[in-house]
Symmetry: C2
């Protein structure tokens, strides 16, 4: 790292910290994709098209920030432990965006300001690029750093299990299933009953988002803590933080979907409302939604403070609340 602003404890340093995290992640993603040199060029091109589309890199930043919150300012050694998990989380996030955008799902043609993968490469290749990124995440996590150290090997395995839980049927996939089902997009053999979007309660909406968005944010943050040797108490505090952060993030996302313009968001605005999808603003109004987001962010920070943890995760929560795109 070229500067010493790796572990800010005040907001003023945060922008520099976030930039440094993004740069580290971009550089590592660039080095590790593909992990295997004999991957067909077209597969690699499609994977990289979506992976290097200029995202916020929030999930890998959560991984790095959690590591720094537990272990203090990063060293080259500690970064080499944590960056594979950080990159894995971003690969899983990107895979989920590619698949969610497909015509059979949300049918979105614009993402991060560019045509979505299936628009550029066709549906078949987009499905495969997503599959490959999901798989590559486990490859990067299990492969790097190359070491037989039993402690590190054990941490990697715990993170892999945690990541699979977050991504799978009980996590992101399950959330998307609930989302599609609420939108009436799933055939249910043996019954003609399809849930109506209007019937989702606030509790069901929260549970859907906990799976779709929250699960991976929690896994990303906890991975950073685990990889630098957090105690169970510390890892639990980081998990509780990320759970509330994820909720706050989703509420802000819903608010931005109502208020934002496509050119700022880099994706189609007003999409949720147009699809008749339930959102926090549609359920609670904009004003109350803003209060709920702020309460979640405060609660996230409180979980860390209770465990006597202070570090970049604290201002990062403020940043999530204040984001405008």
């Amino acid at each position: 790292m070229e500067d010493s602003k790796l572990t800010p404890t005040a907001n003023e340093d945060l922008e520099g910290y976030l930039r440094a995290c993004r740069a580290e992640v971009e550089s590592a993603l660039d080095a590790w994709l593909p992990t295997a040199p004999d991957s067909p060029a077209l597969a690699v091109e499609a994977m990289r098209y979506s992976l290097f589309a200029g995202g916020k890199r929030l999930r890998p930043t959560l991984t790095l920030a959690a590591a720094d919150t537990i272990a203090g300012p990063a060293t080259a050694d500690s970064r080499s432990l944590v960056l594979p998990a950080a990159c894995a989380m971003e690969m899983i996030h990107t895979y989920s965006l590619i698949h969610d955008d497909l015509p059979a799902m949300d049918d979105d043609t614009l993402r991060r300001g560019r045509p979505t993968a299936h628009v550029v490469y066709g549906e078949g290749m987009a499905i495969l690029a997503g599959d490959a990124l999901l798989t590559e995440a486990f490859q990067v996590l299990t492969r790097w750093p190359r070491t037989d150290d039993p402690g590190v090997v054990g941490r990697k395995l715990r993170v892999a299990e945690r990541m699979a839980l977050a991504a799978g049927a009980a996590g992101m996939v399950g959330g998307q299933v609930l989302d599609l089902h609420a939108a009436g997009q799933i055939s249910t053999p043996g019954t003609s009953t399809v849930a109506d979007a209007q019937q989702l309660t606030a509790e069901e909406l929260r549970r859907m988002h906990e799976r779709k968005t929250g699960a991976l944010m929690r896994a990303a943050a906890v991975a950073g803590a685990i990889m630098v040797g957090a105690s169970d108490t510390e890892a639990d505090a980081v998990d509780a933080y990320a759970r509330e952060l994820g909720l706050g993030f989703q509420i802000i996302d819903d608010i931005l979907d109502v208020e934002g313009a496509a050119d700022q968001l880099g994706k189609t605005a007003g999409k949720d409302a147009a699809a008749g999808k339930p959102t926090y603003p549609s359920m609670f109004g904009l004003e109350e939604s803003r209060h709920m987001a702020a309460a979640s962010i405060r609660q996230a920070q409180a979980h860390l403070e209770t465990a006597s943890l202070a570090g970049p995760l604290i201002p990062l929560a403020e940043w999530v609340l204040a984001r405008t795109h």
Copy 2:
């Protein structure tokens, strides 16, 4: 295990052995899917629909047979080490079938004698069921058996890395990309050149199948060897065996696609020819294809014999050669 026929060394015992392996795998898959109890019921139903459609269970059987070939007759302890990896391989195989059958890929409506997942649940849910099975494979492998034994933890991580390599861009996904590309189903931005199916050379056909089919068979067999503590030499021999076995399997598959009837195959026959896909019979004729398959199977067995390995993998290779569906 209720009988003692777990490790046959002669063909006569093989059918009983295969039945026992299938029963063990079915029972474990049933117990482990879903791994997380709060997975949405609809997601679990769609995953199980494709997973319990009566497949041959060849890949998990390879895992168990490789373990028995290395370590001798199975015990409850050795099975608990190996079954998670075996089930993970079958989950990955099933995910790949679901995605390959999608309208955007091979557009198949019949698989293992039943309507394909997207016909029953819709495309969105079929994509998600595949995603979930791919993820669940890593979940099962990393989670079971629950142990902190550093030796077992290290083996699990090696198998997870190997499995990700086999499934990803350098393996199965890469093979399917080459397949789609040869069939002209992938948009290639910036160029109007699309490879013609007729232009695939025999070498390119082999390399495509090594990725699409061979990579996971190799990972499945090697996983069984690794989990019971095979030496590097032994694991390499099992890998070389599975590489040749996978090639032989694919040639037989192509022959059956020409000769078989849909009711026997449980999938649409003549599909490859209809799609203009290159196959071994279309390239070499049926007679020469049969010779090539037999040569691969003999070579597979020779790799084991060179490493002084004898066990169920030997007759299993004969069985792959003789299969009629």
